[in-house]
Symmetry: C2
Subunit: 275 residues, 2 copies
């Protein structure tokens, strides 16, 4: 592009065709089945480029084409990739699964298993609640750790220097999806103290208006808080329930999950890692 008067401005990170292909995949993941031109419209690509990328992804099985209408959707090869990740979360998931189910049965609410990835939590497993109005977190989705019960439950047991690196004062106020979100390091630290005292973390509409969540951390054999299990649902219902009882229920199950992972329960182990 001769670019009349503009500065060339050559950005040197990212590979264009790869970036665009990932846009295409994410678009399909979000929207289900789409035609080439729809993909092009949503990604801002021209159709011929969208088509080339889709064809390339289809060759490899990452997208599939409906033979009836020629439209494209995510292919099952992406599951295989996820399977590669799974080996890393597998012991945790295996240990937590039955407990998620029991907690779900006891409360009828959606229960989740989350892990920490940088400053985000990733939901790696869940059992859906039985209420007609229930939480729906897509598996594999992520959220800012400081805005969620699970995130705060895990962060509480990270050493302070890690916290300071993740949440430097210079970044205040932290991103704020709702008015109740904690936006300063001090507010977070205060909450960590409360969480440690109570034994469970609470999120009352800090991540999303109308939804609340109770969460407790899970520890692996090295004593690291490697994940968290949580109950989430409409604030009205969570408020109505005895949150202390929910917290206690989660704590008991979390302790069993930790034990299954080889964590030795010493009364202060949770505390020692906390400070």
């Amino acid at each position: 592009m001769p670019a009349s008067g503009a500065v060339p401005e050559r950005r040197r990170d990212g590979v264009q065709s790869l970036d665009r292909a990932l846009d295409v995949l994410e678009t399909l993941a979000a929207s289900g089945e789409l035609g080439v031109s729809e993909v092009a419209a949503r990604t801002g690509l021209v159709v011929s480029t969208a088509h080339r990328l889709l064809a390339g992804l289809a060759n490899r099985g990452y997208v599939g084409q409906n033979p009836a209408n020629g439209r494209y959707a995510l292919g099952f090869k992406v599951l295989e990739l996820a399977g590669g990740l799974e080996v890393r979360t597998s012991p945790l998931r295996a240990a937590a699964r039955p407990h998620l189910e029991r907690v779900q049965q006891a409360t009828s609410e959606t229960t989740n298993l989350a892990i920490l990835d940088g400053d985000q939590v990733v939901y790696v497993d869940q059992v859906e609640g039985s209420h007609s109005v229930r939480m729906f977190t897509r598996l594999g989705s992520s959220a800012l750790a400081h805005t969620t019960g699970s995130g705060k439950a895990i962060l509480t047991h990270r050493p302070p220097e890690v916290i300071e690196k993740l949440y430097p004062r210079t970044r205040e106020p932290f991103e704020r999806p709702t008015p109740r979100t904690l936006t300063t390091l001090e507010a977070l630290r205060d909450d960590f103290v409360r969480i440690r005292r109570r034994g469970y973390a609470l999120d009352r509409e800090e991540h999303e208006e109308g939804v609340s969540c109770v969460a407790t951390p899970v520890f692996d054999r090295s004593g690291l808080a490697c994940g968290a299990i949580s109950i989430s649902g409409p604030t009205a219902r969570i408020d109505q329930a005895d949150t202390a009882a929910l917290g206690e229920l989660l704590r008991r199950h979390a302790a069993e999950v930790s034990a299954a992972l080889g964590h030795r329960e010493t009364p202060e182990s949770a505390r020692s890692h906390a400070v």
Copy 2:
């Protein structure tokens, strides 16, 4: 590339950088954590290219870099992609999950939920057996349908013209991972008849030496065989068990899963779709 004497041979399908990036992802999925140079070695790329692709993937969260040693591994963003697929398998998985667990408890063997994708089956859920020697199928992995119990169970209920398109005589002998694999359309059809009579499919080391499998199809509300549930384990153990009883167990559970999906159980519905 001046390419001394060779024919240019410009292949026009596939986007080079995308293809290579997918190679990188698949390598990481298969191997876990790798350094740049290891990735380069395994994919046949030069290190600078491998690094560029890894950096591009890392920008988007599809790979993560261990800050300690600089090595790369799959990132959690791939889970999010898989979550996009999940919405398509979700009702099936939700309906089948409890039954997989019960079958696993009753038999102590690994139980799987598989769907058909072209001529392959994809394992979309599983409950691991409790034996110390047990089947390990990675979630999201796929296998040639004609070599597996689940695949044959589903194919049995596909119309003959679909079967003929998938398995044309011209492709005989079909791919053959073990000596017992069925390699002709006729052999497959004979097996379909047996499967219909018995009510369950059997795979005695047709997919992998030493492992056998019993499987039954699951039907959705439109009467389509949308998946299969199966038990798999070492041939010795499967043989020792009463395969007819295993088949019957699976049939009962498969019927319940089908019912949960809205399939109306008419005695000949299975048969009518079969022929």
